[in-house]
Each structure stands twice: as structure tokens, then as C-alpha cells.
């Protein structure tokens, strides 16, 4: 069982300018599984997600305590290069953020950061990534047009392709479909199911049905604490805690 653990979080505490946002969170994130983080707004699920690739480092006044191990190595160890961590743990943001460059340049962006790849290899990688993100067929004939012209759903899949291009091991998704229509959302969800064979995925979502549809494990956060984490069917059919049940049945949120 242990070798299937991709990341493990131990007693994570997080403070914004001294105000605690995460309280003693510990959990395991399993390899090639989709873990969903749910909970009401302000419960700390996005903060938690951003701890997993140290994106919170850039937040003014942020302080982290505890350990997060990636393949057994603490990513908060002072010896560890944060840039390497972010290459291994990719991220897709809530609001799709294509850069105002061409579609090709967007996907190639991460590849061109001190990488030994040739032009040819970059072009190949861009194509594979766009195919993996199920976007290739829609953009193959206009790779050199601005990414800003794509629809919202296409932009988000482009951001996924961009994250895939640098070959991460883990992909963090922060409500990736919250701004999308149902059809675009469905495409993203199918993509997530497809990607988990090769990647470990952690997804924050507000949408309970989405968590139920795409995830293998679900973690419920409330007021900065992890209330429970279990197999998704278990959480949605027979949660151990009253609060979890109240939340998933819509009694509060």
C-alpha cells in the first residue's frame, strides 16, 4: 500500500499573517487516483491545494508548519528547489489563465524554461499535450493564433495542456470547471478520468456531483480542518461525521 502513496501531508498548519487557515491537516494522496477536496467557501481547501506545490510561498505573510512529502521527500525542506517541485506538481487554476500569446507558445512556455529540448521535440510535445488535453482537433489548424480567441472551455483545456507539457507527476486543479457551461464541464470531467491513468490528480470543487462523478477519494474540509477523508462512495453514502453528511446533503454550505 505504501508505494501507492504519491504525497503525504503531516500535521500541516497554515497562517495568513498569523491567522490560522489550516489546522493540523494530515492525509495521504494516492498515486493514479483522483482526490477531491470539498467544503464550504473559506474552509481552506484552496489554501491546502496551493500548499501542495508551494504556490503559497508567494503570498505575503504566509507561514507553513508541518511536512508535505512527495515520494517521501519533504517539499518544504530548505534544501529542496521550489522550481523543481512546481515542475513535478503542476497546477490548473480556477479562472483559466492563458497567456496572451499564441496557442503554441502557451503550451511551449514551460518547455522553454531552461530545457534542453530541440525545436522539433518542443513541437512534438506541444502536439502530444494538446491531444492529451483533448484540444488538438479543435486547434490543430490554428496553433499560431492567439489563445485569447478560444472559448472559455477551450482556454481551460489549453491550461491543462500547458500543465501536461512539462510532464508533471501530480496535477492540482482548483475548481477547473467553475466558470464553464455544462458541456465544457463534461469535457473537463472526462479528461480528468482519462488523465488519472498516468497522473495523480487533486481537484478542489464546489460541485458535489462533480466530486462524486470524477473522484476516487473525497476529503471534506471545514473551518480549516480536515473533517474526514475516505473513498468517494463511502463519503457520499455513509459519511462518518455528521457535518460531512449535513454538507453533502445540502443542509449548509
Amino acid at each position: 500500500m505504501e508505494e501507492n502513496v504519491k504525497m503525504s501531508v503531516h500535521n500541516l498548519q497554515f497562517y495568513y499573517s498569523g491567522v490560522p487557515a489550516l489546522k493540523d491537516v494530515s492525509m495521504k494522496i494516492l498515486k493514479n487516483r483522483v482526490s477531491a477536496l470539498i467544503g464550504p467557501s473559506g474552509c481552506g481547501k484552496t489554501t491546502f491545494l496551493r500548499c501542495l506545490n508551494r504556490m503559497n510561498d508567494i503570498v505575503e505573510g504566509a507561514r507553513v508548519e508541518g511536512n508535505i512529502l512527495l515520494d517521501g521527500v519533504n517539499i518544504y525542506d530548505p534544501e529542496v528547489d521550489v522550481v523543481q517541485i512546481r515542475r513535478r506538481v503542476g497546477m490548473v487554476f480556477q479562472k483559466s489563465n492563458p497567456f496572451p500569446k499564441t496557442i503554441f507558445e502557451n503550451v511551449a512556455y514551460g518547455l522553454k524554461i531552461d530545457s534542453p529540448l530541440s525545436k522539433r521535440e518542443i513541437a512534438d510535445r506541444v502536439e502530444t499535450s494538446l491531444k492529451d488535453a483533448a484540444l488538438w482537433n479543435e486547434v490543430a489548424d490554428r496553433l499560431h493564433q492567439s489563445a485569447m480567441k478560444l472559448s472559455g472551455g477551450q482556454q481551460q483545456r489549453l491550461c491543462i495542456a500547458r500543465a501536461l507539457a512539462v510532464k508533471p507527476e501530480v496535477i492540482l486543479m482548483d475548481e477547473p470547471a467553475s466558470a464553464l457551461d455544462p458541456i465544457a464541464t463534461q469535457k473537463i470531467e472526462e479528461l480528468i478520468k482519462d488523465l488519472k491513468t498516468r497522473y495523480t490528480i487533486v481537484i478542489v470543487t464546489h460541485n458535489m456531483q462533480q466530486a462524486a462523478r470524477v473522484s476516487d477519494y473525497t476529503a471534506f474540509f471545514y473551518l480549516g480542518a480536515l473533517i474526514e477523508i475516505d473513498r468517494t462512495e463511502k463519503i457520499f453514502t455513509n459519511p462518518a461525521h455528521k457535518r460531512t453528511e449535513d454538507y453533502i446533503t445540502g443542509r449548509f454550505g
Binding site: N53, P100, Y109, G110
Partner: protein
Amino acid sequence: MNKKLTEKIGFLLLYLAAILVLIFLGIILLDVFSKGIGVLSWKFLSQPPRQGMTEGGIFPAILGTFLVSLITVVFAVPLGMFAAIYLNEYARPGKMTRLIRLAIRNLSGVPSIVYGLFGVVLFVQMMKFGTSILSAGLTLGLLTLPWTITACEEALKTVPKAYREGALALGATKWHSIRTNVLPYAIPGMLTGVILGLARAAGETAPILFTGAAFFIPHLPGSLFDQFMALPYHLYILATQHHAIEKVRPIAYGTALVLLGLILLLSFSAIWVRYRYRQKMRG
């Protein structure tokens, strides 16, 4: 009173205020244009003044203003840009940062004649550049620096945080993200601000008065350490210091027209740069 009527009167007042601005600008432009256009010719633009500045052209003044502006840009733009990048991207909020910002804000309020005096002490005397194009250009550079920094910072602020985060999340270092995913989108905005600052500097008289501008020199400047003639100073002389003010009035207006034209040209190029940038960002 009737609510609708109040609103109408309020709207009318605002409208009049806006129109008034337009009227003043129109009058100034019309006045300078109608009185200056008469002397404007290729000869006027390409020849030096002759006969005690009562005849001939203003070429040395145009060249002088151009050269001084060049020094201003070369000095103030990189310095202002780097300072803005530091302040906006790297500086942590604290006493020091607040002090720097306070200094910048106060510098922009210092009267230009004070910059002139400072330029004399620092560049002309201490650094021994003499009264020269270099000293005057550097003095104007100092004058525009607060504007340049502020404009560059504003331009950096318009670049969404998501571009920075997006790049970092892909494994870029902070500097790589700024260089490849922030600056390219900020530079047009920076340029707009820089050009407007330059337009202001090019029209200044006081800072160059003691630092390098000459009443009249018979030859063109041969190096950056030479004195020079400049459009605004030339205009000042023709309008107030000349022995035959009435006689040279048309030349003075011609000089004013050229200076105004130059500055309008700079302003329009700023508008053009901004327009192109918006087009590009929309994709």
C-alpha cells in the same frame, strides 16, 4: 426643485467644464499656429540663426533639444524601469519601501528650477561634465525619473497576477516569469508613460538653463560635452531677452510652433503605442 431639472443643470455644468478645457487648448493651438506658420519653411528648420538671430532658422535648437532628450531617455528609462520592477515585483512592504515611495512622490513635486540648481552642483561641478548636453540631459533625466517610475509601475500593475502565477506554476523562476510573461505586456504601457514624461522634459527651460543651454553658439555641438541651443530656451530668449523683440516675434512663434509640434508628435505616438498594445492583447 424638480429632480430632473437639477440633474440637467448638473450635467450642463460638467459639460461646460469639459468644453472649456477644449476651448483653451484650441485657442492656444490656433494662436501659435496662425502666428508661427508664416515663417515655417524647410530653410527655417534646417538653417542656423543669422544676423543676431533676426533671420535664418532654428536648426541648432532642434538638434540640441533632440540630443538632450536622447540623453534623458538613455538615462531615465532603464533606471526608472528597473526601479519600478524592483518596487512592484520584489520590494516587501515595510519601512524602507514606504520611504522610497515617499521620496519618489516628493521628487515629482520639486520645482524644475531646483532640479536645475541640483544639476549644476552634481553634474556640472562635482562630476565635472561642465555646462553640456550631458549635464542638461542627466538633469532632465532626474526630473522625469519620478514620472517614469510611476508610469512603469502602473504598467506593471495592469498585468494580471494570473500571468505571474501561471508561469511560476509551470516551474519558472520569479525573474523568468517577469522577463517572459510580465514585461512583454507591460512595456507598451511603460513606453506610453515614458514618452509623455519625455514630452514634458523636452519643453522644460529651467533645468537646462544653468546646465548647458546656450544663448547662441555659431557652430553645432561636436560632442556631448559641448553647450547647445534648445527650443524652449531659444523661445524664451526670442520672447524676452532679444534686443529687437518686436522684430523677431514671428521667429519666436515659429519656434513655439515647432516645439509644440514636437510635443504633440510625442503625445500622439504615445496614444498610438497604447492603441496597438490594446489590439494585441485582445488577440
